[in-house]
């Protein structure tokens, strides 16, 4: 690659196969309480 650098990111397609355990934090149950964001949440599934 000469013109593009790609950051390491989670493979969404693979997460569709391996994810969905539902153990992660509920979106609003944290610091915000008045907006919704899930980008800052950690996946709890160490095998996914």
């Amino acid at each position: 690659m000469k013109h593009i650098i790609t950051l390491n990111t989670r493979d969404m397609k693979r997460s569709e196969e391996k994810g969905g355990c539902g153990e992660c934090q509920t979106s609003c149950q944290s610091a915000c309480k008045t907006s919704c964001g899930i980008a800052n949440q950690q996946c709890e599934n160490k095998n996914a």
Binding site: M1, I5, M12, E16, E44
Partner: protein, 464 residues
């Protein structure tokens, strides 16, 4: 879907559905845009040559070769294949895994901008009894299925007005968690007025997270965060919070502020909390209030707020380079170990896996719906009786709002906040566009920081 933007000297390309983040030179940036517009490689190449007359034939070939390689590996121009995943988590038997316990419908402060109207939620004052709190814990265990991690937030009003019930509730939950194979995570959200040594010791032992309300500079904090006699709270709460955080060690906490039309220069408040008060874990939220309120954010404020978010991101990078980083809640984004696609498309969980419990045990979809009779779901004693409402909330996800269809940020917000949507449009399936605009700006800044951090890591590696 592709989202491209330039920020802090970087050309950033986000491939929405694979969640891949790319940083490009100008040539690739323009080439991706041309392909995204629907041009063939041949057409795009011709146009690109006109736009970049100094580019050689080899440059052009290499650029399109890079694009093709990423397209083939599923990291560019990917399609949305996740609609069927949207309902997956919530179509399962409803599992409740988080409760917001409003242990006190009263407050020892009288903040005029409070969405909970000083804890009364436009209703009566009152304190939750231990019996009700205990029943709420049992309700959560009974309705949590196989979910192991259960979250309980002590909220209000001001929960420390009812500290004894908080303590007994934790004691009770701890006494039953092993037998039910559960792991309770408690959060305390407090205004700091009643933070004592006993509270600090208890919270640091029992609470996974504490959220400490402070708006920043003294004059900003004391504009709204006053006691019932109208006196500002800053001088009382800041020393309490500093002691609290120091004793907390490496456990989670957030200084949580609110900014309004009166302090659109909110980065000054964040930097005050960091530089003058010594806090490193920071969150600052736009005020949630009626548009007619003098504190409400306006359209004219938007460019100012966008600039503030950029100032914050750039300054956080500077602090990182200097070895003294701070955390901003909305810029925390884990690209490698963040949420799976189910979480990303499933909506926030209000009214399904997350509910608020009033002092009297009534259940609402979340803390922002409390005392709205149309949204009362049931109570912790008899359970949920408005299954129709639960079903409506189950349907709230990334695909349920037509406005989200064209939004590049939807995989980061899961479809937004239903309560904000209701208050802005009269419909939980509406869209609070102002909040979306700020959210998108925050995501652009957060992603830019990731790009900059990757560059810093590469530089360090090269030096080593």
């Amino acid at each position: 879907m592709i989202h491209q933007y330039k920020l802090n000297g970087y050309n950033i390309v986000l491939d929405v559905y694979s969640a891949s983040v790319h940083v490009t030179d100008d040539l690739a940036y323009d080439a991706i845009h041309l392909i995204d517009e629907g041009k063939s490689v041949e057409e795009a190449k011709k146009e690109l040559a006109k736009m970049h007359q100094d580019a050689t034939e080899e440059d052009l070939d290499d650029t399109f070769s890079d694009i093709q390689e990423l397209t083939d590996s599923g990291k560019l121009f990917t399609k949305d294949i996740y609609e069927k995943a949207a309902g997956y988590l919530k179509k399962q038997t409803t599992v409740v895994k988080a409760l917001c316990l409003l242990v006190a419908h009263t407050c020892n402060l009288n903040c005029s901008y409070c969405f909970a109207s000083q804890g009364k939620f436009k209703g009566d004052e009152g304190l939750m009894t231990f019996e009700t709190a205990k029943r709420a814990i049992d309700f959560l265990v009974e309705n949590s299925g196989n979910r192991r991690n259960l979250e309980v937030d002590f909220f209000g009003g001001e929960p420390l007005v009812n500290f004894d019930v908080c303590k007994k509730t934790v004691e009770y939950a701890r006494s039953i968690e092993k037998q039910h194979n559960k792991n309770f995570r408690f959060t305390l959200t407090t205004n700091g007025v009643n933070v004592t040594d006993e509270v600090i010791e208890w919270a640091n032992k029992e609470c996974y997270n504490v959220v400490l309300s402070l708006d920043g500079r003294k004059e900003v904090n004391d504009r709204f965060r006053v006691n019932r006699a109208g006196q500002g709270s800053y001088d009382r709460i800041v020393p309490n919070f500093q002691k609290f955080v120091e004793a907390r060690g490496d456990k989670n906490y957030y200084m949580r502020g609110t900014f309004s039309h009166f302090n659109t220069d909110f980065t000054k408040d964040i930097f005050h909390m960091a530089d003058d008060l010594g806090f490193t874990e920071l969150s600052m939220e736009p005020v949630v209030t009626e548009p007619s309120s003098p504190s409400a954010l306006t359209e004219e404020d938007l460019p100012v707020l966008y600039e503030q978010y950029e100032i914050l991101a750039k300054d956080m990078l500077r602090r990182e380079k200097d070895g003294k980083p701070i955390t901003f809640y909305h810029y925390m984004i884990d690209l490698e170990h963040g949420p799976c696609v189910y979480k990303r498309v499933s909506g926030c969980g209000s009214g399904t896996e997350y509910m608020a419990v009033t002092a009297w045990g009534d259940l609402y979809p979340c803390h922002q719906f409390v005392n709205d009779p149309e949204y009362k779901l049931g109570n912790v004693f008899d359970g949920v009786d408005r299954h129709d409402l639960v079903d409506t909330f189950k349907e709230c996800n990334v695909y349920s709002r037509p406005e989200c269809k064209e939004c590049w940020a939807r995989m980061y917000c899961a479809g937004g906040c239903s309560a904000n949507a209701l208050h802005a449009t009269g419909d939980i399936k509406g869209v609070y566009e102002y909040g979306c605009k700020l959210f998108r700006k925050r995501m652009e800044c957060a992603l830019m920081m990731k790009v900059a951090e990757a560059e810093m890591a590469q530089e360090q590696e090269n030096e080593a």
